[in-house]
């Protein structure tokens, strides 16, 4: 009798928790879907950028946060994705529905191949190799013999697509929803992936490669595939970015982009999925706010926005060394102390 009561009450509480969670998700979903209707075109464009960054961050986090391989050069795959999109649509007239996945597959191939030398290089050496990749790709894009394809220093123009099926959406709104669709699919895929057998293998390799190998994990295969997958995510982000901006050129994919992506995953939290949204918001908006703060400081402070950005970055790392996800975890841990303690249902029977 007692057992039954306890079981049913436990079920009720967990059911209530589930419902509250589901309600929160629904409200959040509605806000995300409703946002582009209440904001100016430019804001919608910025939010699309946030979604694009979130996809790229998730890609790098699969590699760095879950698999433990550091890359300072994922801007290169962003560039490959953006340029594949631009070349396919500008030179071959391929529809973006087709070009975006193709960009993803191309980047998967490039990342998979880069994963092989990466197997030989650990830690710092891999950081150097990928850093070199980040510097090399913009130089190669400017390289004269490739001009007919890449458009050289000028880059390539893309036309922003209009909404299909006669939907009453502006181009910016439609691109926002396109990015949102891509992000939803990719977030769903990776949150399932990291819980799967392959995901556990990735994490095991990060934590203890030798133990993982003893357990029968194929180190080389998992690491190269993860590299490819991570590159594919970033490539899709690059393709979406090319489409949203309507323009690709070598300088938009420089070292700064690569470093921003790394900043984003650390600010969001290594090994976290939803933290990447926070990271993306940070790298999209904080440089702008730093700019505004330096405007307040007066006319002479023209060059200071980056100094303010740097100071903010260091302060955030000081306050939350494990990023937003880590801060969230410790907040939840401390917050629980102030809530009424709930008896755990298994005790006392």
């Amino acid at each position: 009798m007692l057992n039954l009561e306890l079981a049913s009450s436990a079920e009720a509480t967990s059911g209530a928790g589930f419902n509250a969670r589901r309600a929160a998700m629904v409200v959040l979903g509605l806000i995300v879907v409703g946002l582009p209707f209440g904001l100016s075109g430019f804001r919608v464009f910025q939010l699309s950028q946030v979604i694009i960054y979130a996809i790229a961050l998730l890609g790098l986090n699969l590699l760095t946060g879950f698999n433990g391989q550091i890359s300072l050069g994922h801007g290169a795959f962003f560039a490959i994705g953006g340029y594949s999109m631009a070349i396919l649509s500008a030179k071959f007239g391929v529809s973006y529905w087709f070009a975006i996945p193709v960009a993803g597959f191309l980047c998967f191939g490039a990342g998979f191949l880069f994963g092989f030398p990466a197997l030989r290089l650990g830690g710092l050496y891999l950081a150097l190799a990928t850093f070199a990749l980040a510097l090399a790709v913009p130089q190669l894009l400017k390289f004269k013999p490739f001009d007919p394809w890449t458009g050289g220093v000028q880059g390539l123009l893309l036309s922003k697509p209009a909404a299909p099926l006669g939907l009453p959406l502006t181009r910016d709104q439609w691109l926002y929803f396109l990015c949102l669709l891509g992000a939803a699919l990719l977030f769903w895929f990776s949150s399932n992936l990291v819980k799967s057998r392959i995901g556990r293998a990735m994490i095991a390799i990060r934590d203890h490669p030798i133990a993982a190998e003893t357990m029968g994990v194929d180190l080389a295969l998992v690491k190269t595939t993860t590299f490819g997958l991570s590159a594919a995510y970033v490539g899709v982000a690059g393709a979406l970015s090319g489409l949203t901006v309507g323009f690709v050129n070598p300088d938009s994919f420089g070292l700064f982009l690569s470093l921003s992506i790394v900043v984003g995953i650390v600010v969001g939290g290594l090994g976290s999925i939803w933290g990447m949204v926070v990271g993306a918001l940070f790298i999209e908006f904080v440089p702008n706010y730093a700019d505004q703060i330096s405007d307040v400081l007066g006319e002479g402070a023209k060059a200071l926005p980056w100094a303010i950005y740097g100071v903010l970055l260091i302060l955030i790392m000081y306050a939350a060394p494990e990023g937003a996800a880590g801060a969230g975890r410790s907040l939840a841990r401390h917050g629980r102390r102030f809530l009424p303690r709930r008896e755990s249902p298994s005790r006392g029977t």
Binding site: L135, A136, V263, V267, L313, I314
Partner: protein
Amino acid sequence: MAALIHQILSGLAMGSIYACVALAVVMIYQATHLVNFAQGEMAMFSTYIAWALINAGVPYWGAFFLTIIFSFVLGMAIERLIIRQFDGAPVLTVVIVFIGLLVIINSLAGFLFSYTIKSFDSPFPETMSFGRGYISPHELGSIGVVLVVLALVYAFFRFTPLGLAMRAAAQNPVSARLVGIRVHRMLAIGWGLAAAIGAVAGMMAAPIVYLDPNMMLGILLYGFAAALLGGIDNPWGAALGGFIVGVLENVAGAYLVGEEIKLTVALAIIIGVLVAKPSGLFSRAIVTRV
């Protein structure tokens, strides 16, 4: 042939600058196992200080030594005030702090001294009586200055008690603490020395690449590559790596491909070498016990 010798010699001159940067990077790496991404920007800032001093009428070598002292203090201050707060933080967190420092120093330099490119005079004469067509006086002079710096650093670590204490603190902090070495102070001195060595690199590089806030970015990357190529646990290997990278870069730029993508080619070669010999050319093989 004369052209090739010229390319190799001016490669050695750039290489001496990379060697300095590599040595600075290795010095911090050995003590903390971190690579300081802001090393180049610190050197750039020091070079601006030297420029300001020279403009204020201080003679070159006076400005040179004042700048080295300033850089030493700056390096120690950065370690004390900022880096020490991140003792024991995850590696990537510290990397982000370095990136933060990089943008702060870069933008402060732009703010204080403007982004316009400045020329920076060489202390060495315009022409000299020998070696004409092969090497310029500044190139010869910077190789000489760097060799003197290397010799001084070697002597410091080999023959002075402080150098010995620093090596002990880097190699085994716990035991060093137990025999009464102030490990934290040694770390701060290490940062100061690295900043001072970097400042020498900056002042030698400025007459060649001109003075602007972004002057050290490429140089830092080559210095980093040099350190890894020579073996990051071996300062002398790292310095030698600097000379190798300098020659490689110049010869590849002149004969293999144009100036446009010489950075890419040089780095591809370095990574090729590293794939074949993952711990660098001159480092001991690392054996891990599992």
